[in-house]
């Protein structure tokens, strides 16, 4: 007997959640949780709202990675005519389609939070030449325009790719696949530029005296690593819910795990390069950023980041066996999710006390957790809403046959 059992293609019935399924009931409670989380964060954060905005920004950049990482994944799938990812493409698209919501969720920052977050350039000291020089880029109007363009492009691409995918469910017309693939390269360019602008504007400008040409790439590395982790967890959740039980195999988890591992290594390489070059040249303008993350208790967070974002996942996810088994891969994925949150926290929050006293002092606030739950609740509400509203795989995916039953080396 051949050891190559021919797995069958998933049918619409096997790929759709039943009407009464518990996952279908999640969107509304999650949305309520989301709003409540944000409101409570606002309320508990104190009178001057600075803490709230910092918590909000941290949570926002964290969850933005889910949408952007997914967008990149879908774009690559189309652009390379990938085969193995056919089974997981719809789930990735469900994360991708949170981008329009994420666009909306960014508006409060741009319209209301700028003064609390970016005091050095919103209200610059007139003798602060370094800020004055960049006022053409760093001012509330330009910031808003830049964000509207980025958010607009994310919305446009995610809607286009999602709609095209749903059309494939219906007709499987190869012309759709060709169109989606045609747009992919332009999507790459758009993605690269917009994620850079988002990272530079939202995070790098927190300290307008500092700059790093690799910053956009740094955020990208963490973003994609994070997305691979939540994709892995999503697929496990879906299988737990009873769908795609025979279709998604150890092979898929291994592939997702391999990409997660690759981006752990990539992020670490970028993070180390950025640090080492700045450390080596020892120019105070640049080193100050890292100095702020080595004082006031932040040095422990730095150490934790290096441990949880590099050392532990590097050795853990190296193993083939770990990547192929759901229990161990889930552990690894959760680790990466936590690590990415710590990364966002580590980039953003030291500047909060730095703006006031000139030094960073570590502090954890309730609003930090509430904001993550808040924005997360809303984002996950959209994810589960789309998960239940359509099949969890792309019916008539042109390369479904390559994804079902494939084997790794």
């Amino acid at each position: 007997m051949s050891s190559h059992a021919h797995a069958h293609m998933p049918t619409a019935a096997e790929a759709t959640l039943d009407k009464g399924h518990v996952l279908r009931k999640l969107p509304v409670p999650l949305a309520v949780l989301g709003v409540a989380g944000i409101a409570l964060a606002f309320v508990t954060a104190g009178d001057d709202h600075t803490q709230f905005w910092f918590s909000y920004l941290t949570a926002y950049m964290f969850w933005l990675s889910a949408g952007l990482g997914a967008l990149f994944f879908v774009l690559i799938h189309h652009g390379t005519r990938a085969g193995w990812s056919a089974l997981v493409r719809r789930v990735a698209e469900n994360w991708m389609i949170t981008l329009p919501l994420l666009f909306l969720l960014g508006l409060p920052i741009v319209l209301g939070g700028l003064e609390s977050l970016y005091t050095p350039w919103v209200n610059p000291k007139p003798d602060d030449i370094m800020v004055v020089e960049k006022q053409a880029w760093l001012n509330p109007t330009s910031f808003l325009i830049a964000f509207l363009i980025c958010g607009g492009l994310w919305t446009a691409f995610s809607l286009y790719l999602y709609r095209g995918s749903r059309k494939q469910d219906a007709s499987g017309d190869p012309a759709i696949a060709d169109r989606l693939r045609w747009w992919a390269p332009l999507g790459y360019v758009t993605f690269g530029l917009t994620i850079t602008v988002a990272a530079v504007n939202f995070m790098m400008s927190l300290d307008p005296h500092w700059y790093s040409t690799i910053f956009g790439v740094y955020y990208f590395g963490g973003t994609f690593m994070f997305f691979m982790a939540i994709l892995s967890l999503s697929m496990m959740g879906i299988q737990r819910a009873g769908l795609l039980k025979e279709h998604v195999t150890a092979e898929h988890y291994q592939d997702i795990g391999k990409l997660a591992f690759a981006f752990v290594v990539f992020w670490s390489y970028i993070a180390f390069s950025q640090f080492m070059l700045i450390w080596y040249a020892n120019i105070p303008e640049e080193t100050l950023w890292f100095a702020h993350r080595a004082e006031g208790g932040w040095e422990w967070v730095t150490l934790l980041l290096a441990l949880l974002h590099f050392a532990v996942p590097f050795f853990f996810l190296m193993s083939r066996h770990i990547k192929r088994r759901k229990t161990t891969m889930a552990l690894g994925a959760i680790l990466l999710v936590v690590a990415h949150l710590i990364d966002m926290f580590w980039i953003i929050q030291p500047t909060m006390t730095q703006h006031v006293t000139g030094h960073s002092h570590f502090g954890l606030a309730l609003s930090d957790l509430l904001a993550v739950v808040g924005i997360g609740g809303l984002v996950c509400a959209v994810f589960f809403w789309r998960l239940g509203a359509a099949p969890v795989v792309v019916l008539n995916e042109p390369r479904m046959d390559e994804s079902v039953g494939f084997e790794n080396y």
Partner: protein, 478 residues
């Protein structure tokens, strides 16, 4: 099944990797025959031309050792001249081979099997050319062993803080690993050559290098694992090597040099130039050796796409550098970038931008990606552009912080002869490779033929079987 709109890029299934539906024997013959033929006039012409250029290199190096580095155009403030430009140029070119062998392997891109042998050889020869430059430029060549961590008469040890020393480790490791990877891949093919050889001398030499390979499945299991691990190791290695090379510049505090994006930017640039060199070599080679069905349009197009991608990454890096130079408000940084475009080396800058940014844009167009002449010409432009990129970066030295120190760098005859001679070394090695070593990975190509899948039979749909069905489909529909 729907009609295939574009045979090379179908919506369903995959284009056949090797054209003409060859058998295993056809592959063996196609690759092994050319190196068994005895009359080889064309080869001799190429080899002798290359060897004479190699002679130019040897003379240049000899004179350099005799007279000293003063024979080069290096001056104050341009203390680094063509030596480092050439070094980075050659190391960069090598990166494509490793990418094709290792990274494309990890991504399960089966089309790599037609070009990986060729590209890996190119890598090794490029790295040899690269290693020459740090070796000869030191000035006191008789104590060049100070570079290595070996006990010496001065009780001195190397300076591990220096990126130039990191280069010694990085590039040597890169050379060793590439050589090992290439050799391991060759073992089954040396066995093929051994088993085909008629002449006793050939048989003996191939047999020695084949290490007694018997195609044992038990051995293949360990072989495959080692190969996959080498691929997994070589991937971060290739990233690290050109990053360490970029550190030569980026660890300094010089404007235009000290910028955090250098590592990935250099790596992207390296892959960019490397793939261009693969195209430059593969296009004539496939024609001359009649391997156009094995290295076919699909392979060339894929390489063009990689060039477009990495060229765009290089463009992104240029844009980021420019933006941040403005953003930083640092007048020296701003001056450096404006000076690059408008200063005394502006001519080099515009050659670089034209070749690196404009040239790959042609590859957005399918017709141009699939036109062999266009590919060949543009691949040469890319490499010209990449040489100039390193030149432009190095020439930032000519206009440093004190205008009173500014000076123009002019290459001397010996700068030029050493560069030209290095091409001689590269091509000599390459011609030797073409002469005796199978230039396509025979066993790997056999492994991706439709008939290699033990479970292929009509009507099957899963996994790699998609290749089987679609190959027939595409051939049937044209």
């Amino acid at each position: 099944m729907a009609m295939v709109k574009d045979a090379l890029d179908p919506v369903h299934g995959r284009a056949p990797l090797i054209l003409g539906n060859p058998s295993y024997k056809d592959i063996t013959e196609a690759v092994a025959r050319p190196i068994e033929l005895s009359n080889y006039r064309g080869w001799w012409v190429g080899f002798l031309v290359s060897a004479s250029l190699l002679g130019v290199l040897l003379v240049s190096i000899g004179y350099l050792f005799w007279e000293g580095t003063g024979i080069w155009g290096v001056n104050n403030p341009v203390g680094w001249g063509w030596a480092i430009v050439n070094f980075v140029f050659w190391v960069g070119i090598g990166h494509a081979g490793t990418l094709i062998s290792a990274v494309l392997f990890l991504f399960r891109q089966r089309w790599r099997t037609s070009i990986n042998r060729f590209a890996e050889a190119m890598t090794i020869f490029a790295v040899i050319c690269a290693l020459i430059f740090p070796g000869i430029h030191v000035g006191r060549v008789w104590v060049v062993y100070y570079m290595f961590p070996v006990p010496n008469q001065m009780d001195m040890w190397p300076n591990f803080m220096s990126p130039l020393l990191w280069d010694v480790f990085a590039v040597s490791t890169y050379f060793t690993v590439s050589l090992l990877f290439w050799y391991v891949g060759l073992i089954p093919d040396f066995a093929t050559m051994r088993d085909r050889s008629v002449s006793k001398v050939r048989k003996l030499v191939y047999a020695i290098f084949a290490l007694g390979w018997r195609g044992s499945m038990r051995a293949w299991v360990n072989y495959e694992r080692a190969y996959a691990l080498l691929a997994a190791i070589a991937t971060p290695l290739v990233l690290s090597v050109h990053s360490v090379v970029s550190f030569d510049f980026a660890v300094s505090f010089l404007p235009g040099w000290h910028t955090t994006i250098f590592p990935p930017y250099f790596v992207a640039g390296a892959i960019f130039s490397g793939f261009a060199m693969v195209l430059t070599l593969a296009i004539p080679a496939r024609k001359i050796f009649k391997l156009e069905h094995i290295i076919n349009e699909k392979h060339l197009e894929n390489m063009a796409k990689v060039i477009l991608l990495t060229g765009s990454l290089v463009g992104y890096a240029y844009a980021m550098e420019f933006f941040v130079a403005w953003y930083s408000g640092n007048p020296y940084e701003q001056f450096t970038f404006i000076n690059r475009a408008t200063g005394s080396f502006g001519w080099a800058y515009w050659i670089m931008v034209t070749c690196n940014v404009i040239t790959p844009q042609f590859f957005w167009f399918k017709k141009l990606r699939r036109n062999v002449t266009v590919l060949f010409i543009l691949s040469i432009f890319v490499n010209i552009g990449m040489w100039f990129e390193r030149f432009v970066i190095t020439m930032s030295l000519s206009a440093d912080n004190l205008p009173s120190s500014w000076d123009y760098f002019k290459p001397t005859f010996w700068d030029i002869s050493t560069l030209v001679g290095s091409f001689g070394l590269f091509f000599t090695l390459f011609f030797l490779f073409l002469r005796w070593i199978p230039m396509v990975a025979i066993s790997e190509v056999k492994g991706v033929l439709p008939q290699a899948n033990p479970h292929s039979h009509h009507g099957s749909v899963s996994g790699e079987d998609a290749y089987v069905d679609s190959a027939k489909e595409v051939l049937a529909h044209g």
